[in-house]
């Protein structure tokens, strides 16, 4: 699919010039079409992975609708809402260890309180500046951007690290193609027990 008008026009001009050049130009166009197809395939595959791996369950804030709670797709994958007030979570009681906010974006457990990340391609508050390598390393090492602090539960790193290289790339390519949403997710809260000294 060649949607670039400039490219189409130059193809037209060259067609008039020489048949051997025409062949070359056509070949180039086919290659571009191949790239576009490849990109579209990757995005479709990535979209499929998001749809089947639960990213919206945690990274899209849930709201109450006429048929009960569900992800608010106007805020698709933009993470825990910036301005939302988060009072202290109920204390763990017996076997009940983890509490989740109604948005599904704030999780309280023995690790403290984690807030799901903005994984839209917004450059300042999302993953718009990330490279594929940052994304892949994050899934492999469980560290922020692959190199920083540990990524907290319940982000299912131990599950997603089993994604193949191709699926990891497709997932990242899809995430970079969705609408960017500006939403600065807060840093996690430490566990109730004081962490390290100093």
């Amino acid at each position: 699919m060649n949607t670039n008008p400039l490219r189409s026009r130059s193809t037209y001009a060259v067609l008039l010039l020489s048949s051997s050049l025409t062949a070359l130009t056509l070949a180039t166009s086919v290659a571009h079409a191949g790239d576009d197809k490849n990109l579209a395939d990757k995005i479709a595959r990535g979209k499929y992975i998001v749809a089947t791996s639960g990213c919206n369950d945690c990274h899209t804030p849930w709201k109450m609708g006429p048929d009960g709670p569900g992800p608010d797709m106007d805020r698709m994958l933009s993470g825990h809402p910036e301005g939302m007030a988060v009072p202290p979570a109920p204390k763990p009681d017996g076997p009940w260890l983890v509490s989740v906010a109604a948005t599904n974006t704030a999780w309280s457990g023995p690790w403290g309180v984690s807030f799901t990340a903005n994984i839209t391609p917004d450059k300042e508050t999302g993953i718009g500046k990330w490279t594929l390598r940052n994304f892949r390393d994050m899934l492999r090492t469980g560290r922020h951007m692959g190199q920083g602090r540990p990524v907290l539960p319940p982000m299912p790193v131990p599950v997603y690290r089993n994604l193949t290289e191709a699926d990891t790339e497709a997932l990242f390519t899809y995430l970079q193609s969705i609408p960017p949403i500006r939403n600065r997710v807060p840093e996690p809260l430490p566990p109730a027990v004081p962490v390290a000294a100093n």
Partner: protein, 379 residues
């Protein structure tokens, strides 16, 4: 921009890797949706481990890596001992380091800030408190790939055993802070060593410069037995080093001795991840010193002053700038270097104690050595 690094192709995962992890949960662990979290220091952490195993298999014992003269625990005198002028803070551990370059092979220093080491290069770094605890091993294989391993010393001090790939979160160790010592996972080795221009961090033009910084925190005085930059050249191990760096040994260009030491300290402690060539280049935070530049400090100042931080510390909500001249307490860089909350601290791994001496230096640098802003620089 994509630089393939980890050899973790997931086709190699075995059934064991995918088995429910809740099966073997030791006390203090919780399982949630198949997510395993170790509640070690009050914070639940599970670092996933790249599954691909190195080939050929790593030696099981340190004695098999070639560090010692055969049949002894004496370091083979053929290996070159060295000490970087800006050492990494490792909670006060006593460290010793050795380099081995195969006979006849050379290190290419054409790019003075990204030396290319020959296959067969090996490095060891011993960490100890009351006694040696761990020795880390880095090797460049024949195919050009690098591998990383940690060996834990036995109580008798006669040899060290290969540590598991996932490291050891808490090893009891006398003399270590709070009596425990963390052995890094192999992923963690790569996190730091593959974050910059070259995977070897302590053997570089600036780190081995004979023009050593007298204010560098925790630097050991270089002994005559240790090799430095001219020593590597004289031995014929280093080639293509730009002539100017022999005539004028590399040093941090700074406005004052304190600024020089602070910038050097950040080079040694932060620059391996925060630079403009590695995977975190997109953060546009460069804390590294490049000897190829005439003004080595410029990038650091440019990428910190007037830059808003994407990290907003909970501990100090209104703080939003990376570095505010004159105000260390309003500088995210300072707050993160000072913190040992695992979610905030910098560096994020390899240390449980803040480095008072290093912090004091950065504090002085921010407080007294930086130009006060005349204009707003936006990121």
């Amino acid at each position: 921009m994509l630089v393939p690094s980890r050899s973790a192709h997931r086709s190699d995962i075995t059934d064991a890797d995918c088995a429910p992890q809740s099966a073997a949960l030791p006390g203090g662990w919780i399982a949630l949706h198949g997510i395993v979290a170790a509640c070690a220091i009050g914070v639940c952490v599970d670092i996933a481990h790249a599954g691909a195993e190195d080939s050929p298999p790593l030696p099981q014992r340190l004695s098999e890596t070639g560090l010692f003269s055969p049949g002894t625990t004496q370091v083979d005198p053929k290996h070159l001992s060295f000490s970087p002028q800006y050492p990494l803070w490792s909670d006060g551990a006593i460290k010793r380091r050795w380099l081995h370059v195969p006979p006849g092979a050379t290190i290419d220093a054409s790019n003075p800030d990204a030396w290319v080491f020959p296959p067969g290069t090996r490095l060891w770094k011993e960490f100890g408190h009351d006694r040696p605890i761990e020795t880390r091993f880095v090797e460049r294989l024949a195919d050009g790939s690098w591998r990383f391993a940690a060996y834990v010393w036995n109580a008798e001090g006669t040899d060290a055993e290969l540590a598991p790939a996932k490291g050891i979160a808490k090893l009891a160790a006398k003399g270590a802070p709070r009596g425990t010592y963390a052995v890094p996972s192999r992923d963690d080795c790569r996190t730091c060593h593959e974050g910059g221009a070259a995977p070897v961090l302590g053997v570089s033009a600036l780190q081995l410069s004979p023009d050593r910084d007298p204010l560098a925190p925790h630097a050991e005085p270089k002994s005559a037995a240790q090799v430095d930059l001219p020593g590597l050249v004289a031995r014929g191990i280093l080639r293509n080093l730009p002539r100017t760096l022999i005539d004028h040994p590399p040093r941090v260009t700074a406005s004052s001795p304190v600024a020089r030491a602070a910038l050097g300290y950040m080079h040694g402690n932060c620059g391996h991840c925060h630079n403009d060539v590695g995977p975190l280049a997109s953060l546009e935070l460069s804390l590294t010193q490049e000897t190829a530049l005439s003004d080595t400090a410029a990038k650091v100042l440019y990428s910190t002053l007037g830059h808003s931080s994407s990290f907003r510390p909970r501990e100090a909500q209104p703080v939003t700038q990376r570095v505010v001249p004159g105000r260390p307490d309003s500088s995210v860089l300072m707050l993160r270097a000072r913190s040992r909350n695992p979610m905030t601290q910098m560096p994020p791994l390899g240390t449980q104690l803040a480095d008072d001496e290093g912090l004091a230096l950065i504090d002085r640098w921010i407080r007294h050595e930086l130009p006060t802003p005349t204009k707003e620089v936006t990121p």
